[in-house]
Symmetry: none
Subunit: 280 residues, 2 copies
DNA sequence: TCGTCGATGGAACAACAGTTCCGATCATAC
DNA sequence: GTATGATCGGAACTGTTGTTCCATCGACGA
C-alpha cells in the first residue's frame, strides 16, 4: 500500500498532530477514501490544515492525491479475489498457513470444556500454591511466555528447566500443595515425562497441555487440555497453545482482579518513574 | 445492496439513457463510490442531469445519497471480519477469546505483502549472515521460540538480551553483514528502541515486527511486518506474531531444504541413539 | 405537416471541499 | 525571563462538484 509505506518511511519526521492523523489513515482507510479533509481532521482531533500538511509531507500533491492513492488500494483490495491470486507467488504459502493456523486456534479453543478451564484457572490463581511450568524443548518459548505473563499477575510462578540435574532437584523439592503445568507434544521429551511422573508421585495437582488424551502427560495429570498444533513447516505450531495460554492468563487476571490491578499499577509506576517505556 | 435492489425494482420504468447509467452503477460500483457525477455521465455516455435523475428515481435524495449508499456497501464488503465479528461480543469468555485470536491471526497474515515476506525470508535464510533477534520484555517468549526454531534450521542465530551492559556490548559488536529482527509492541521498551537505533547506525539489515507502521522500530527498519495483537486479558496477544514467525520459519526451511534435512537427520539420529524422545 | 410531450444534455448556480495564509500557542534554548 | 522557532488550527480563498433549469431533439398522434 503506497500511503502506508510512505507513512512508515516518514514516521520519524512527523509532528504529534500529524502522527494522530497518520494513525487514523492507517486504521480507517475508508475514512480517507470516502471522507473529506474535515472528516479526517475531526476524527483525529486536529485541524484541516494538518491533514493537508501530512499529505504533502508524505510526498503526495495535496490531500486529493493521497485520497486517490488510498482509493486505488481499496479498489484493488475488493477485487473478487480471483484477480488478486496471481499477484505474488507467495500468496499460496500465506493462504495455506493462514487456514492452518486458524484451524489450530479454532480447534484448540472450541474443544475446550468450560468446567475444566475454570478448574485450571482456579488452581493457577490460587496464590497459596506455587505454580511450576514444565515444558518440552520444542515449546520452551511459549512456556516462557506463559511464565512471564503469570508472573506479572502473581508471585511464585517458576519454570522447571536447565540441565538434568537441576530438573531432578526442582522436582524433588515439589510439595503436595504445589501446582504444575506440563506442556509437551508428540515425540515427547523423555525427561519431561520422567519429571511429570515424579511430580505425580509427590502428589502435586497437575494439568497437562498436550496434543492428545492418549499422551503420557495426560495419564499423570488431574486435568488435560488438548491443543491442535498442525504446522506448515518442519515443526509443530504452538499458535493454538499460545491462544490457550492467553485464555488462562486472562482467567487468572479476572480471578485476582483487585490484587492484579494493584500489582500492575505498581509496575506501571516503576516504569513511569524510570521512563523505560515509550509510546513512540 | 441497497442501490442494486432499487435498480432491479425500478428497472421497468427506466429510460434508455438512465438504463445505461444503471448498468455502469451495477458493473463499476467503485466509479460511483469514488467518482463524480461527471465521471458516471462520461462512462455511460450520458449527461450529468441523467445521472442525478436516475438517483432520484431510485428513491435517493440526489446523487450524494446514492453515492453514500454504495460507499456503505463497499465499506462493509472491505471488512470480512475485523469489525463484523467484534459486534457479538460479551457472550462467554472462550468465544470472545476465540474470535479475538482468530482476528489476530487473520489480520496479521492477510495484511502481509508477498514481496516483503520473501525478502525477509531470504535474509533469514542467508547462512552467510548472522541473525540476531531483539525483543521487548513482553514478547521474550515468542522471540525465544523463533530463535529456537531458526536455530534448528541454521547456525548463528542469536538472541540479544540480558542486562543493559550485555545488550550494549552485543549491539556494538554487530557487523554490516548481519541481519537483525526487532520485535516490540506499543509501550515500546526504551532499551529496545535504543538498541535498534544503534543497530541501524551500524548498518545491519533490519526487519521490524511491530504493531504499527508508526512504531519507532519501523522507522529504523529496512522492512516492517505489522502484526495484530488485540488481547482479551491484561496483556497483548502474541498469537498473530507467532503465526507470522511460523510462516517465516517454514519459508527459511523451504529455502534451505537440502541443508535442513541433513541437519534434522543428524539431530534425529542423536535423539534416537540416546532414547531421549518417546512416541508414547 | 404541425403540435405536444417526454427525454436528454448543456449551462448556470449554489454549496461544498481543498488549499493557503496568518496569528496564536507552546516548547526550548540562551 | 525573554526570544526564537516550530507547531497548530481557524478563516479566507479558490477550484470543484452536485443540483437545477431550460433549450433542443425525437417520437407520436391529430
Amino acid at each position: 500500500m503506497e500511503a502506508a509505506d510512505r507513512i512508515g518511511q516518514a514516521s520519524a519526521s512527523l509532528t504529534p498532530a500529524e502522527r494522530r492523523v497518520a494513525e487514523v489513515v492507517l486504521e480507517h482507510p475508508q475514512l480517507v477514501a470516502f471522507g473529506t479533509v474535515a472528516d479526517l481532521a475531526e476524527q483525529s482531533g486536529s485541524g484541516a490544515a494538518t491533514v493537508v500538511r501530512l499529505a504533502t509531507k508524505l510526498g503526495f500533491d495535496g490531500f486529493t492525491a493521497l485520497q486517490a492513492s488510498v482509493q486505488h488500494d481499496l479498489a484493488r483490495q475488493l477485487r473478487p479475489a480471483a484477480e488478486r491470486i496471481r499477484e505474488p507467488a507467495a500468496t499460496d504459502a500465506i493462504a495455506n498457513h493462514l487456514s492452518l493456523e486458524l484451524d489450530n486456534v479454532r480447534a484448540t479453543l472450541s474443544s475446550l470444556d468450560g468446567g475444566a478451564l475454570s478448574d485450571v484457572v482456579s488452581h493457577l490463581a490460587d496464590v497459596g500454591r506455587r505454580v511450576f511450568v514444565l515444558s518440552g524443548d520444542a515449546s520452551q518459548g511459549v512456556a516462557a511466555q506463559l511464565v512471564a505473563d503469570l508472573s506479572a499477575l502473581r508471585d511464585r510462578v517458576l519454570r522447571i528447566g536447565g540441565n538434568d540435574v537441576a530438573v531432578r532437584r526442582q522436582v524433588a523439592l515439589l510439595e503436595p500443595a504445589d501446582v504444575v503445568l506440563m506442556l509437551d507434544l508428540r515425540r515427547y521429551d523423555r525427561w519431561v515425562i520422567d519429571a511429570a511422573r515424579e511430580a505425580r508421585r509427590v502428589g502435586v495437582w497437575a494439568v497437562a497441555v498436550t496434543d492428545s488424551l492418549l499422551s503420557p502427560l495426560a495419564a499423570v495429570a488431574d486435568r488435560t487440555l488438548v491443543v491442535a498444533a498442525a504446522g506448515g513447516g518442519p515443526f509443530d505450531s504452538h499458535v493454538g497453545t499460545l491462544a490457550l495460554f492467553n485464555l488462562l492468563v486472562a482467567g487468572v487476571a479476572d480471578r485476582l482482579r483487585t490484587a492484579v490491578t494493584d500489582r500492575l499499577d505498581r509496575a506501571e509506576a516503576a516504569w513511569q518513574g524510570s521512563g523505560s517505556l515509550s509510546d513512540r
